[in-house]
């Protein structure tokens, strides 16, 4: 092998390496570009709703060509959102609905999960299988009769009517039962020896140990409650009991007048903010919880 030959090989090598690096860098850049474009598509509606909500009514309507920036932001629309339409009332209703539904559901679900995981009784497995079978039933099939039931009970336009049909979830029972079942038997036996009752064991031992799963369940349920639209729409036609979703629909159709879009956007921002704050605080937990069992779309 001559010296010249060696030289050429070395040159070739660097060239190949360089070409590979260029290819890698272009690939990376394209990936980042693509991801950024989607990120902007996700964020843009949020930007637009905040931007529009701080534009004044006259400024917004003077813009035949929408502007991406406003020089004179105003909070007047937020004031209008709380004074012209009963936004605070919708907000409070949703809060009551969310807290009450989640609380009652937690009790029902925890008791059932405890029975399935810890207690022994005849027919347990059969009942559990039947529960699981119920998971396949779509809401659309049962909502018709539930609507009639609640109407017959005279519970339209009441919080009970809103809350009662959604306080059980077979899926959460299943999730909690799996979690409870992981707690070692020895703990239960030791507690029994010490004369601890089943109920006390549940509240003092199982619930604290399963706290992470319970928090996941709570967060998922809160999101579901805050965004629920269909059932509240069926069961309430008195604005005094509207939740935020129905409120926003009401605002859109009869609220500020069809053209006062900045005020509408202020209302939209106000009702979106609580969940976004919740998400920013708990985003790891929420994403882990959803990948374990949430579905939407």
């Amino acid at each position: 092998m001559t010296a010249q030959n060696k030289q050429v090989t070395q040159d070739d090598l660097t060239r190949i390496e360089q070409r590979a690096r260029v290819k890698r860098v272009t690939g990376k850049s394209l990936t980042y570009l693509f991801l950024t474009v989607w990120g902007l598509l996700v964020l843009f509606p949020f930007y637009w709703m905040i931007l529009t909500s701080v534009k004044s009514y006259s400024a917004y309507n003077a813009e035949y060509t929408p502007k991406f920036w406003t020089a004179a932001p105003t909070l007047a629309n937020y004031k209008a959102a709380f004074t012209t339409v009963p936004l605070a009332k919708y907000f409070l209703n949703t809060l009551i609905f969310t807290v009450a539904t989640t609380a009652v559901m937690l009790i029902v679900v925890t008791l059932a999960a405890f029975a399935f995981s810890r207690l022994e009784f005849k027919g347990k497995n059969l009942v559990f299988t039947l529960f699981l079978a119920l998971m396949m039933i779509p809401n659309e099939l049962v909502i018709i009769t539930n609507f009639v039931t609640i109407t017959n009970w005279g519970m339209r336009n009441t919080f009970w009517g809103l809350i009662l049909p959604s306080v059980t979830s077979v899926f959460y029972i299943y999730l909690l039962k799996e979690n409870f079942a992981q707690i070692p038997d020895e703990l239960y036996k030791a507690a029994k020896v010490d004369g601890c009752s089943d109920f006390k064991y549940l509240t003092k031992v199982m619930i604290p140990i399963s706290a992470p799963t319970l928090v996941t369940v709570i967060i998922l349920k809160v999101i579901e409650c805050w965004n629920s639209y269909v059932w509240p729409r069926l069961i309430t036609d008195d604005p005094n009991y509207y939740l935020v979703s129905n409120g926003i629909q009401e605002i859109r159709e009869h609220g500020f007048g069809r053209q006062n879009i900045p005020a509408m956007m202020a209302a939209v921002v106000v009702i979106s903010v609580p969940l976004i704050i919740l998400f920013l605080i708990f985003h790891k937990k929420i994403m882990a919880g959803v990948s374990r069992g949430g579905t939407k779309g």
Binding site: V42, F46, N61, L111, A115, P138, L141, V230, I248, S291
Partner: protein, 296 residues
């Protein structure tokens, strides 16, 4: 011991009562409604038993329009959202810096109120006397005429509906696919690299088979979810979807039950059962296809 047996049922009692009243009884009742002919809601009477309600629903032009809309929505949004989510997840998985930020941002639509954000989409697409809207502004940049996406031609409305649906369902799909991709063992990739396998081949022979169960899971839940589309449509076109010509099957069920054209639980039940049969059929077909193609 008898005491403890009773205790088990006692703990289950609340769940059984609620599920009994709001899940099991309605499930039976929906068949009763669907097959009672000429049911009168006010007097709680009916004339006979038979298939009349199904017959009525299947001839109702509003229902046929709703079926058409729903099928178009499903056929477009399920492949588009799954494919796009796969591309994005592959991108996410190939980078390190900013990965968490992107993931968090992408998940944001999941926690927002569909009705509220739908209103923003409506404003972005809507053409009014005061403004053509932002989307039309962009269309104008490319030298095309403005289109009314909210009250205009059918395909324009369908485009907005599909676009918004994809936007709403993406977070869940990206989340699932990203974690599926991350769980593929690095050993396989290393082995392929040593063999000098090309990128395309690695994707087709390793990545795709390894994540195929999750893709099919997303396709199946995607079909089910898209067939039940309703609130996204309300958010964009308003509560009177029949007037907008944008109703969906679920929307038809609710309209029959309640609202200006409501008061017909029998028709609503028949339509809900038809929807259930459609969804069940599609799911079974999906499962059969996945048996053949998914590698567990």
């Amino acid at each position: 011991m008898k005491n403890s047996k009773l205790k088990g049922w006692l703990y289950l009692l609340p769940a059984i009562i609620f599920l009994g009243i709001f899940m099991v009884y309605p499930l039976v009742d929906v068949f009763v409604y669907a097959f009672q002919e000429g049911f009168n809601f006010a007097s709680q009477t009916y004339k006979g038993v038979g298939w009349f309600n199904f017959d009525y629903v299947l001839r109702d032009p509003y229902f046929l329009q709703a079926v058409k809309n729903t099928f178009i929505l499903v056929i477009i949004t399920v492949p588009v959202s799954t494919g796009l989510a796969l591309l994005i997840s592959l991108g996410l998985n190939s980078i390190k810096p900013l990965k968490n930020l992107f993931q968090t941002v992408y998940f944001l639509p999941y926690v927002t109120n569909t009705l509220a954000v739908g209103l923003v989409f409506m404003i972005l697409f809507k053409k009014t006397a005061y403004t053509d809207g932002l989307v039309n502004l962009i269309i104008n940049w490319f030298g095309s005429e403005s289109i009314d996406f909210i009250d205009g031609p059918y395909w324009a409305k369908m485009f907005v509906m599909c676009f918004y649906t994809v936007w709403v369902v993406m977070p869940f799909k990206i989340l699932i696919l990203t974690s599926a991709l991350a769980s593929v063992k690095q050993d396989y990739y290393n082995a392929a690299k040593i063999d000098g396998t090309s990128k395309g081949r690695i994707f087709r022979r390793i990545t795709l088979p390894m994540i195929s169960p999750m893709i099919f899971y997303l396709v199946i839940t995607g079909f089910i979810g898209a067939f039940k589309a309703y609130s996204d449509e309300v958010a964009i076109f308003g509560t009177d979807l029949n007037v907008a010509g944008m109703n969906t099957i679920v929307g038809y069920v609710y309209d029959m039950l309640y609202g200006d054209s409501g008061g017909y639980p029998s028709y609503a039940s028949a339509a809900a059962l038809i929807l259930f049969v459609i969804v069940l059929t599609i799911t079974v077909i999906n499962l059969m296809v996945s048996r053949k193609n998914v590698h567990y």
